[in-house]
Symmetry: C2
Subunit: 171 residues, 2 copies
DNA sequence: GCTAACCAATCAAAGCTTTGACTACCTTGT
DNA sequence: ACAAGGTAGTCAAAGCTTTGATTGGTTAGC
């Protein structure tokens, strides 16, 4: 396989081979794992965003924040950042858009006047329910690439990777 | 587990339960798989970016483009977009930054004057070699969460998901 | 009470990505 | 030759994310 014949996926093989040839000390398996993880996730996210969310006028981050509120109920912006995995600044910017579009309401907290309490509007809840149904249908389409046993194994190994001690998220 | 006790990971369980309760038709397994995939990948990418790349003054996308050129050699911008998984516009914008910083050179193609040929500068190659060593060491740290057999299984299942027919990348 | 430390949120600047539009160039068919 | 269509790259506008700085509010120590 020369450099001329590569495509998006065979690039991973070429990268592993080339790195292994040129840099003796590297770990080819770890490299393949992270490269593949990154590419698959990007592919799935791009698909979700272009098929489900952009046609509805939303972004994937917007959906994630609305979904967070839908799952865990009204909460402070800081907590929404923790649960969704965004930074507080990102939540702040994102809520401006969602508030403008009438999907989220932002109310100053009674007991702590620094905080704002976020909640779905009725319109936000309706829109989320519709978008989530389409989102999940698309998830199923992806998941169907694997057998039930493979899906369980994949989810379990991913969770184990995510639980990695010593390499923790700091935000 | 009430909504008050959730954290970043238990949110996934809560989301699956809550969706299952409120919307009868959804596919909880597919949901868990995609949610977990997304969160793990974001965690790994954030870690790489904050530990390896930002301290060197780079972004993760910048690293990916340099790495693509390092693996497959000089190429047109369009091809770099295909292999790296970025859009042509994204490559165009990114190359402006990398060119400004002296890491990539952009030369008009002789035979097709529409095209530009991208290649690593000497400085770009040196910087990439250094960054890649650190990047791969960090990848190893993550991969060590799993046994050798688990790593192989995970990489294989991810590749199978990425090879999904009927749900293809369109860019 | 009052100051110091801390904390929630936002602002500002820079970077990446996206869609849509546009220019310049190449290629094909007549 | 030359017009029609396709292609490579860029520009523009909007959105999200990041780091670093700032504002306003709370809490703890003296």
């Amino acid at each position: 396989m020369t450099a001329q014949d590569l495509d998006f996926w065979s690039f991973v093989d070429a990268a592993v081979d080339r790195a292994h040839d040129r840099l003796p000390g590297i770990d080819p398996e770890a490299m393949r794992l992270v490269l593949t993880l990154y590419r698959v996730t990007n592919m799935v996210v791009y698909d979700m965003e272009s098929v489900v969310h952009r046609p509805r006028g939303w972004s994937y981050p917007g959906f994630r924040l609305l979904f967070t509120l839908w799952v865990a109920g009204p909460m402070e912006a800081k907590r929404a950042a923790e649960l969704s995995g965004m930074s507080r600044q990102a939540v702040s910017a994102l809520v401006n858009t969602l508030d403008r579009d009438g999907l989220v309401s932002k109310v100053p907290d009674q007991s702590d006047r620094r905080a704002v309490r976020l909640s779905l509007t009725v319109r936000g809840e309706d829109a989320l329910t519709d978008a989530f149904a389409a989102h999940n249908a698309r998830e199923t389409l992806w998941a169907d690439a694997l057998s039930a046993g493979e899906r369980e194994t994949l989810a379990r190994l991913l969770a184990k990777l995510g639980a990695r001690e010593g390499v923790r998220r700091r935000r």
